[in-house]
Amino acid sequence: MKRWFAKLFCLLLLAVALPLAAQDLSSYEKQVSVKTLPNGLTVVLWRRPEAPVFSFFTMVDAGSAQDPRDETGLAHMMEHMAFKGTPDIGTTDYAAEKPALEKVEQTYAAYEAERIKRTGQDPQKLAQLKQAWQDAIAAADKYVVKNQFGEVVESHGGVGMNAFTNYDETAYMYSMPSNEIELWAALESDRMLHPVMREFYKERSVVMEERRMRTDSSPTGRLFEQFLGTAFMANPYHRPTIGYASDLQSFSATDAASFFHRYYVPSNMVIGLVGDLDPGKVFPIIERYFGQLPTAAKPVELFTDEPPQNSVRQVTLQDPSQPIYVEGYHRPSYLAPDDVVYDAISDILSNGRTSRLYRSLVRDKKIAAAAAGVTGFPGVKYGHLFAFYAVPLPGHSNEEMQKAFREEIEKLKAQDVTDEELQMFKTRTKADLIRGLASNEGLAEQLAIYQMRYGDWRELFRYLDRVDKVTKADIRRVSNTVFVDTNRTIGVIQTQTASGPPGAPASKGGE
């Protein structure tokens, strides 16, 4: 809910941050049980009895890339609605509330039909229809028990309750004391079975506020929306996860319900569970509650492959804020055989004070406060970007960033990385994987993601075998293929002061 955008940046780091030797796998396999229910839902459970608590991570394999064409933001909106309760939670009288909610949809449809008329719109009729819709909302609101879902979770000791939507997936998580596992199963299955679209249009306003905060009123938010819209033309990564304002002001609860029914099906979901849980006791509970979800085929993936770029693209944001430099290069999806090579490049360029970009742009040239090259932007499921970014020091220009990146890229293409650099990547990846095992929350997330993306959670560990095989020649080969002029999109913030063109936003107390 709060995290979708933060998540986007976390995903940038995903490939870097993940990642023990496969020979240790057998010791971990004993702690992990996997079950796929007859309806297709897969649950991966890691027993970690250190303390009487557990964490879960429900992952739905649908994100904003699945938003219908004129309904951007719908996947994220659905995520918000999953906190609004069910027929049993969040209502004083569902039998009466149900028709009242139907009325809200009828009146909204009538209002929308008039509102979007290109010609012949009748202002008086529009006002009446709007009033009828508002009246219907007020009538339905009478049955609402505010935030009962959250209240039940929190008053039973749930912590860290949240969710996020990114381009690739939607996910839900919290942690609870381990004696509450049955309550958790009841609550989580219930909202994945029949979420009720109550307070939808109020929540839509909440999401509009989220957009204002993360995108409209943030310099980097403004830049990234423009940058992705330029780097991608055909692939859904060109649209914002939060949604365009006009879509956020038009889609309906019916649209969200339709999205839910298409994508929130058991075969399209994986749950990661980690903590003090005995699989012999927990799986029967899960079967009982989650077994109710109706069987449905995994939705067919329809998406457009981004065509080759074949052109240099640039977006320049005239903005009252200080300069930022970004450049991105198209690369194939996470399933590409070279996926791990991009991870190696990113690590060698960006990880820590020994990284090439830190030493070059920050330490030696002294032109940037921070510089990095990251993969997995803005998602991984489809062809995406390897992106470089730099924060110039005061008095240094975006052009200097560009030139410095070009030099570092040419070096990667012309010369092998050193044995030490390659070894650091391999050692760090292993150590980071071990460190990641310390947290129930983090582990639940990794298990769910790997099970979903590779069909087997063990890939979390097998990844290390792929890491071990990366060679210096791989890094040069991939760099020469991907880091080419016609595969590049540049995005910059160019500082515009109060004396800028008339009508442009002026900065007062901002520069």
Partner: protein, 485 residues
């Protein structure tokens, strides 16, 4: 092309599906949770060396890792005002500047080859040095840690690098709404010269010299000012012997003195920061809060839970869910370990509804005065705190960090257990009493940041407005790279 009719049909399907109720399942509100298994978290061993250094050892054999932190008394509240930023620069340059025999860059090469970290940091009331490594590398990494602790060099080139980084932060500090609000709320609540609110400027950062960093280290880094905590896969007896060997012969130094900071209430009224490139206002209602040692602390945490914490609080339910006015809303009476916390009731709403947002918060504060807790709210808030209590100590590392904080701030080491017992005793009357004692609408300083050309009602309709100038004082000539600012 969209067809609204067909979409409506889809919604009926939803409701139909929703109407199918499971037959044999226990409804959520009838589920009886078994008692939580007895759980006694492992307590760290506390050792105090003859030179005054306090050591906590918390073994944890789950993973082959070791982490350690030394927290040292003395932080930015003790730095001179005309060198604000000194402790930040110290915290950065301590590590990057290396030791007498190793440069920071050489340390980087050594550590990164082992996926290990040694880091240093500067905070308001302390500085710290920490390590994080695979257990097989511990001896080598610890040797380097000790070298940096005892023989730092603060090389001048790394001080310059850290200063450049701070200049960047200063030049960019008005770009993001969040960074402006974090800074200005503290300035308004504590006062601009209060050490908890002071802001580094180009001139104060430029005034810091390498000698200042060396002097700071000499003044504060002594064993009697240090609390050292270590957790991970080690044998506690052998580790204790190793630490005693490493630290035992280090002589005592002068005690770090806490500065005597004066706190005065903020001046009530409306403060406005104009930002023309936003379409959403931030509203923050501010006052001084309390210290955790205050006997009202327990009732205050319950009140905060009811008022502004979590999904079912009044602010979230009424301003977000019911009115749809905000994505981000929350807050309550602030608390800190050894000085008044920052009371901050905050929301963000579209420019047009700025005044409406202030009025909505005002109404919630009025309601809090009249009726601070219904029996249901009291139960929910206490259940929320008490049932999630296990998450305060569900990892050995959390327990270690709790104990180190109690030691640092001279709190009883069983403060957490006391906290649970005291929260259990909180009554509705207690909540009402603390609401009336610590939340006063007429004493709040209300900060609004926004784009007033889009406000539907002017702020002045609520009373006099004081404009806050956040312009950044320019750097002295010649301070920064080619072209300057």
């Amino acid at each position: 092309m969209r067809t609204i009719q067909s979409r409506f049909a889809l919604f009926s399907v939803v409701l139909l599906a929703a109407a199918i109720c499971p037959a044999q399942l226990t409804p959520w509100n009838k589920i009886q949770a078994p008692p939580l298994p007895a759980f006694t978290p492992q307590q760290p061993t506390r050792v105090q060396l003859p030179n005054g250094m306090v050591i906590f050892l918390q073994p944890d054999h789950e993973l082959p890792l070791i982490e350690a932190t030394a927290r040292i008394r003395g932080g930015s509240i003790s730095e001179p005002a005309n060198k604000t930023g000194l402790v930040d620069l110290y915290g950065e340059t301590w590590r990057t500047g290396g030791t007498k025999t190793r440069t920071g860059d050489q340390m980087d090469d050594f550590l990164e080859a082992r996926a290990a970290k040694i880091e240093t940091d500067g905070e308001t009331d302390s500085t710290s040095i920490s390590l994080d490594c695979l257990k097989g590398d511990f001896d080598a990494v610890f040797e380097m840690f000790l070298d940096l602790l005892r023989n730092p060099e603060f090389r001048a080139d790394k001080l310059e690098l850290a200063q450049d980084q701070m200049y960047t932060g200063i030049a960019r500090r008005n770009d993001r709404v969040g960074s402006i609000v974090r800074r200005e709320t503290r300035i308004i609540a504590y006062g601009k010269d209060n050490p908890y609110a002071r802001v580094a400027e180009f001139t104060t950062v430029a005034a810091v010299t390498r000698q200042d960093l060396l002097n700071w280290h000499q003044q504060y880094v002594h064993p009697n000012n240090i609390i050292f905590g270590i957790t991970g896969d080690f044998d506690p007896k052998a580790m204790q012997a190793k630490l005693e060997q490493a630290f035992g012969s280090w002589p005592k130094g002068p005690e770090a003195k806490q500065p005597d900071v004066k706190f005065t209430e903020p001046k009530p009224g409306t403060y406005f920061i104009r930002k023309t490139d936003v379409n959403q206002s931030t509203i923050a209602m501010l006052d001084l809060g309390i210290e955790r040692s205050n006997p009202d602390y327990y009732a205050v945490t319950v009140m905060n839970e009811i008022f502004g914490g979590g999904f079912s609080s009044r602010l979230f339910s009424n301003i977000r869910s019911k009115l749809g006015l905000a994505y981000s809303v929350g807050g309550g009476v602030g608390y800190a370990w050894d000085h008044p916390g920052l009371t901050n009731i905050q929301m963000q709403t579209k420019s047009a509804s700025t005044v409406e947002g202030i009025q909505a918060l005002d109404k919630e504060i009025d309601d809090l005065q009249k009726n601070a807790a219904t029996p249901e709210e009291l139960k929910r808030a206490k259940d929320t705190i008490l049932n999630s209590f296990v998450f305060q100590f569900d990892t050995p590392e959390k327990v270690l960090h709790e104990k180190m904080a109690y030691e640092f701030y001279h709190y009883p080491l069983d403060f957490l257990e006391r906290y649970r017992a005291e929260v259990e005793k909180v009554t509705a009357d207690d909540v009402t009493r603390v609401a009336r004692k610590y939340v006063h609408k007429d004493r709040l300083a209300v900060l609004v940041l926004g784009n007033d050309s889009e406000f539907s009602t002017p702020l002045s309709s609520l009373g006099p407005v004081q404009n806050v100038d956040i312009a950044i004082p320019p750097p002295p000539a010649g301070l920064m790279g080619p072209g300057g600012e």
